[in-house]
């Protein structure tokens, strides 16, 4: 089913090819370098991951994956993603909606704030939570008094993950919504729709592919985050270890098959994300490019 809406966007693509004026050999060298680079730094590690994971046969592989600690790490990772991704969808959509469709004071500040997680090291993000919620932290006393445990527990991991992943959805949607302007929303309002109906029937469908794309990236990062989560997790086996953390632990214990088996799942997730991302870009490229062009 070819959605007709793609057609209207097609002119966007054209200008690109005209810019390519380099001679053939130069192009070959450039492309060769790029591919060699990709092969060494991306493809090779991927092959190594799967090779090591299956080094002792499929039996050892499945056994490694079914150990209780590994299973709990997988469960925790899924749980963290299941909480942080929806929250960031809500946050991302609201932030993008506010920034793209309304004028208000502090808009530029909010836009900068959204980019913050991209500009600070994840470890710092994690440390901020330690400073806030740790025993000696700002809120440490108060939380202890109220019996709240955030640090070295699941809530801390979720918070850290939300922090590092919150730009993904918002950044994808803001330029897209800005480009589309207010026209459709005004039309819906003039036809009697209330704010919620306008959002649900008009705004959201207009950005759905961009949103899906953002969610995909957000999810990949939520499951793969290491730095920030490592700081707040406490590395309690079977309790606060996510998959990336678990990989590190297994590896440090010289359990290569175990480490690479879990790593292969993460690599698999990356591959699936990549394929979906490519498919999305192929079909709804122009819409997503609008967001990229920012």
């Amino acid at each position: 089913m070819a959605d007709p809406e793609i057609k209207t966007y097609e002119p966007h693509h054209e200008s690109q090819s005209a810019a390519v004026t380099e001679s053939r050999p130069v192009r070959w060298v450039a492309m060769g370098t790029a591919f060699a680079f990709l092969a060494v730094f991306l493809l090779l590690p991927l092959i190594v991951v799967f090779h090591e994971a299956l080094a002792k046969g499929i039996g050892a592989y499945t056994e490694a994956l079914s150990s209780p600690d590994t299973r709990s790490a997988i469960r925790l990772t899924l749980l963290v993603a299941a909480i942080s991704v929806p929250l960031n969808i809500v946050f991302g959509i609201s932030a993008a909606w506010a920034i793209a469709k309304f004028e208000f004071k502090g808009k530029a500040f909010l836009t900068t704030l959204i980019d913050l997680p991209f500009s600070v090291s994840p470890v710092i993000s994690g440390l901020v939570y330690v400073l806030l919620f740790g025993a000696q932290g700002l809120l440490g006393e108060w939380m202890k008094a109220h019996g709240l445990v955030i640090l070295f527990a699941v809530p801390g991991i979720v918070l850290a993950t939300i922090f590092v992943t919150f730009p993904f959805v918002a950044r994808e949607l803001i330029p897209l919504m800005q480009e589309q302007g207010n026209g459709d929303e005004e039309a819906a309002l003039s036809l009697g729709a209330n704010g919620w109906q306008t959002f649900w029937y008009v705004t959201l469908p207009n950005v759905k592919w961009g949103l899906l794309y953002g969610v995909l990236l957000c999810n990949a990062r939520a499951m793969g985050e290491f730095g920030a989560v490592s700081v707040v997790s406490g590395h309690i086996r079977g309790l606060t270890n996510t998959m990336p953390l678990h990989v590190e632990i297994l590896y440090n214990e010289y359990n290569a098959v175990g480490a690479f088996a879990v790593a292969s799942l993460l690599a698999g997730l990356a591959l699936v994300t990549l394929v979906l991302k490519t498919l999305l870009e192929m079909r709804y490229g122009a819409e997503i490019a609008a967001a990229r062009g920012h």
């Binding site: 057609k7 459709d184 005004e186 039309a187 003039s190 036809l191 009697g192 209330n194 029937y201 207009n206």
Partner: protein, 347 residues
């Protein structure tokens, strides 16, 4: 529905887009807002719709103060310049949208909505295109869908922003006639914005001429064309020529000569601007009491000849129109007197 705009002022971040605008729109009337780019036409239309709120002043729908109401409550049909059709909805869903989002008992059944949509598609002569998406329609067809969508909610007022702006001349003319027919059939009070004077004069019952955030004149096509009430309207509607003159002793003078025109009794003495239509002039042979000038340029325009004359001591240029076969068209000096003209205070 009668619409009254009373002393409305609109500022955008201190920039006044409309100054103290008042306008009475009669029920069932087709009225055009005409003016150059940036004159505030869209702003006035959006204020009536409720897409903007006036900085000062009020807008009445009948006796009720609509300025206090949101756009949803005003129940107006707005057709946007670029249509703003919902691209992910079919034509039928676009048209039915306004009915679908109604609440409770006022919301028709899905079947009824579908029936209304195809009825409206018939009205706009697009039957059979229910299942198409906006991207699969031509510009003119999109325009019609946008109109059908706006009419589906049975609006009290229909507002159209440059409805034919993005279409080519041929389609424009067709749609223009068609819009008039639809209006006569449905009787909606309709306001449309245009910067095409031909469109405004041909289509509208009355034309509102705007300039720089003000209404210059409101009237029928004849009134606007025959008795413009400002130099701006004179020059904006149709062709016009103007000359700086002096009024003295009840006579009109160009430089140091009277030009044979009696100033109206109430005209004050002093500097003034004489406006007339280039084609509405009387050619004279000799000259005592006329405007005489040397031909500076001459060009053929369809069946007439446009002649640019340099007149007066300051060699003011003024344009008049001659029949192609008129002997004066060959001469290097031409004398004339405007047949119909108007004096405005010099600005």
């Amino acid at each position: 529905m009668e619409v009254r705009v009373t002393n409305v002022r609109k500022e955008f971040e201190r920039f006044p887009a409309l100054h103290d605008v008042s306008l009475d729109i009669r029920s069932g009337e087709l009225i055009a807002l005409l003016g150059p780019s940036g004159s505030g036409k869209t702003t006035l239309l959006r204020l009536i719709a409720g897409l903007e709120r006036p900085t000062r002043g009020a807008i009445f729908f009948g006796d009720e103060d609509a300025s206090q109401k949101s756009i949803q409550e005003r129940n107006v049909g707005f057709v946007f310049q670029h249509y703003a059709l919902f691209r992910h909805m079919t034509v039928a869903d676009n048209i039915g949208f306004g009915l679908k989002v109604r609440h409770g008992a006022t919301r028709p059944s899905a079947q009824e909505i579908r029936r209304r949509a195809s009825e409206l598609l018939d009205l706009v002569q697009l039957s059979g295109l229910e299942k198409r998406y906006p991207a699969q329609l031509s510009g003119g067809q999109r325009q019609r869908v946008a109109l059908a969508r706006a009419m589906a909610i049975e609006p009290r007022v229909l507002l159209l922003d440059e409805p034919f702006g993005a279409l080519d001349a041929q389609v424009r003319r067709e749609l223009r006639r068609w819009l008039r027919e639809i209006h006569d059939q449905t009787g909606h009070t309709t306001v449309f914005v245009t910067h095409d004077q031909e469109e405004a004069l041909e289509l509208a019952d009355r034309v509102v001429v705007m300039s720089q955030g003000r209404i210059e004149q409101v009237g029928t096509a004849d009134e606007i064309y025959d008795t413009p009430n400002s130099p701006f309207v004179y020059s904006f509607i149709g062709e016009s020529s103007s000359l700086p003159v002096k009024v003295d002793n009840g006579e009109v003078w160009l430089a140091d000569r009277p030009i044979g025109l009696q100033a109206p009794p109430h005209a004050p003495s002093g500097e003034a601007l004489l406006c007339f239509r280039p084609h509405d002039v009387e050619l004279l042979d000799g000259c005592s009491g006329c405007i005489a000038g040397t031909v500076a340029a001459s060009r053929r325009v369809a069946s007439t000849r446009r002649v640019e004359l340099e007149v007066g001591g300051e060699r003011q240029r003024v344009e008049i129109e001659l029949p192609v076969d008129h002997p004066a068209a060959q001469k290097s000096r031409v004398a004339f007197r405007p047949r119909r003209w108007k004096l405005f205070p010099a600005s």
